[in-house]
């Protein structure tokens, strides 16, 4: 019997053989999330005359499996901005909780100011904050695996739209799309709003129609997408968020002409 305290509670060497301590290795580089697990696909958004429209479908995929089909990926912030998340869903939840806390603290800070809308964080401030947060996490080698779009208004009350990704890279444009949308939806949106001037001429209805059209194209061509989606319109009056939209007027006629996959004999 081995009476040394070091041996207490361990498998007995005389029965199981000496323990292979190499399994207890504590050296080596720290590893954090190296790939996303449950993911959301594209988020798309376009500016118009009085605000911004944003949309994302309601799917969270586990690899190629359509795992969760009622996932809301657009989050309002202080009812003045909208944040849309692509990428890892658990990191999105972390950020959502963090932003909830931030929003509550913000409203304590400004609850008695004469014009709370002016003094509270606007979308431009929020985007700057998120970009610092994402870049810091990248430098910790523990990135939050998301691409985020932020929509709302800047400090001069102009429509604001910008993105930040898991490396802290920021980007802004009259229309933005993350993930597959950058390939499939961005060219369509540029046709309507290539410049800020174009975007300033778009009406709300036109912008919503462009976004809905893009969501349809994404559902046609992106295998990790869904026909149910959320759409948010941010204007000076606040955020109108609809979380259970269905793609309308789909036409799969084009699929007949696609050759070169599956069991088809060309």
């Amino acid at each position: 019997m081995d009476h040394r305290p070091q041996a207490w509670g361990r498998p007995r060497d005389d029965v199981y053989g000496a323990y292979d301590a190499s399994y207890l290795q504590t050296s080596g580089p720290k590893t954090a999330t190296q790939s996303p697990v449950v993911t959301g696909t594209s988020v798309i958004a376009i500016k118009f005359r009085d605000g911004v429209v944003m949309a994302a479908d309601n799917l969270a995929s586990y690899g190629s499996l359509a795992r969760f089909t009622d996932v809301k990926r657009l989050r309002p912030f202080l009812s003045t901005s909208v944040v849309g998340f692509g990428g890892d869903v658990s990191d999105m939840q972390f950020l959502d909780r963090h932003l909830t806390e931030l929003a509550i603290d913000e409203s304590y800070e400004h609850e008695h100011s004469e014009n709370p809308a002016k003094s509270q964080l606007n979308a431009a401030n929020l985007h700057k904050y998120l970009s610092k947060l994402m870049y810091r996490r990248r430098n910790d080698f523990d990135p939050l695996w998301n691409q985020i779009l932020v929509a709302g208004f800047d400090s001069s009350s102009k429509p604001f739209l910008a993105s930040v990704d898991l490396r802290g890279t920021t980007f802004t444009s009259p229309s933005l799309a993350s993930g597959f949308g950058a390939m499939l939806a961005q060219p369509i949106m540029r046709r309507y709003a290539a410049t800020e001037e174009d975007a300033a001429r778009l009406s709300r209805e036109e912008a919503v129609n462009v976004v809905k059209e893009c969501m349809k194209v994404l559902f046609y061509r992106d295998a990790r997408s869904l026909d149910r989606y959320s759409i948010a319109v941010v204007t000076k009056d606040g955020v109108e968020l609809s979380e259970d939209e269905q793609l309308e007027k789909q036409s799969w006629a084009f699929a007949e002409r696609i050759r070169g996959y599956g069991t088809q004999t060309v």
Binding site: A60, F68, D70, V71, K72, R73, V89, M92, Q93, F94, D96, R97, T100, E101, I104, S107, Y108, E111, H112
Partner: protein, 297 residues
């Protein structure tokens, strides 16, 4: 109260032989000098109001608010020592945040009252501290919807029970009052501060308790709250005061479950009615006096 504590009032952690903690009783005295605050729990929400004595003409009107928000759905008003109240609110906000960190859901009014009651009671136990010189009224509307979890993304199963109990209702309006001893009860209507006696008498006349729940609506409660603060102020007419009022409704009501200041237009209307009610009362009294004089003649 006996005028002296005969040596038993010098420290917090010592009882007098007849079982009293004099420090706590003195703290209650501090509350009794503060501006009146009241809370009314009605059918579809809670109203909080405070009589804010204007101590100096150099203070900006309608600035320096006395009613604070905790989380989004809770409001706290207090009478007594204002710095103590500010600290109380800081602590309440910390508790609400800690609750969210742990449970990922907003703290209920009852749980916040319990936590803060415990906190105030701890200040009656030790030599090194003094009790809080405030009585706080906590009002809140706990969500009547299925409680949401922070960061949740989906809505759960669309068929089957999904862990939900059919017919179970959640939340509603709640009102608690915490005294310097740490004692707290849930109330239909609560009043504290200088004018509490008059205010309580008025609150008791309202239909707040009834077996089917209170019939008073939120807008009626706002008007009653304004009237009660004006009635309670009566005795110290020489000083000017401001009326500060906040309300919390359910998700279908005017504040959508949030604790907010009563809109200016509604508050001014309530104040107008309160002043009018008071003038009518005074006229009646004068008539009574005149009537009596005539009788004597």
């Amino acid at each position: 109260m006996t005028s002296i504590g005969t040596g038993y009032d010098l420290a917090n952690s010592i009882f007098s032989p007849d079982g009293r903690n004099f420090q706590v009783e003195y703290a209650v005295k501090a509350v009794e000098n503060g501006g009146t605050s009241i809370g009314i729990r009605c059918k579809d929400g809670v109203v909080l109001a405070v009589e804010k004595i204007v101590t100096s003409k150099l203070l900006k009107p309608n600035a320096n608010k006395r009613i604070a928000t905790v989380d989004r759905h809770l409001g706290v008003v207090y009478s007594g020592m204002i710095p103590d109240g500010r600290h109380f609110i800081d602590r309440a906000r910390d508790e609400a945040r800690a609750w969210r960190d742990t449970f990922k859901t907003p703290i209920s009014t009852a749980d916040l009252a319990s936590r803060m009651g415990g906190y105030m009671q701890a200040y009656t136990l030790y030599q090194s501290v003094r009790p809080f010189g405030i009585t706080a009224i906590i009002g809140g509307f706990d969500s009547t919807d299925e409680p949401r979890v922070d960061g949740e993304v989906g809505t759960g199963p669309s068929c089957g029970a999904g862990g939900k109990v059919a017919g179970k209702t959640h939340g509603g309006p709640f009102l608690y009052m915490i005294e310097p001893s740490g004692l707290y009860w849930g109330y239909y209507g609560a009043a504290t501060g200088k004018g509490r006696q008059a205010a309580k008498a008025e609150l008791e006349k309202l239909d707040l308790g009834g077996p089917g729940g209170p019939s008073l609506t939120l807008e009626e409660a706002v008007k009653e709250a304004a009237r009660i603060i004006y009635v309670a102020h009566d005795d110290s007419k020489d000083k000017e005061f401001e009326l500060e009022m906040t309300w919390i409704s359910g998700p279908d009501g005017p504040t959508k479950g949030l604790h907010q200041e009563v809109p200016k237009a509604l508050r001014e209307e309530a104040e107008r009615l309160a002043k009018k009610a008071q003038e009518d009362d005074e006229d009646d009294e004068e008539e009574d006096v005149e009537g009596k004089e005539k009788m004597e003649e």
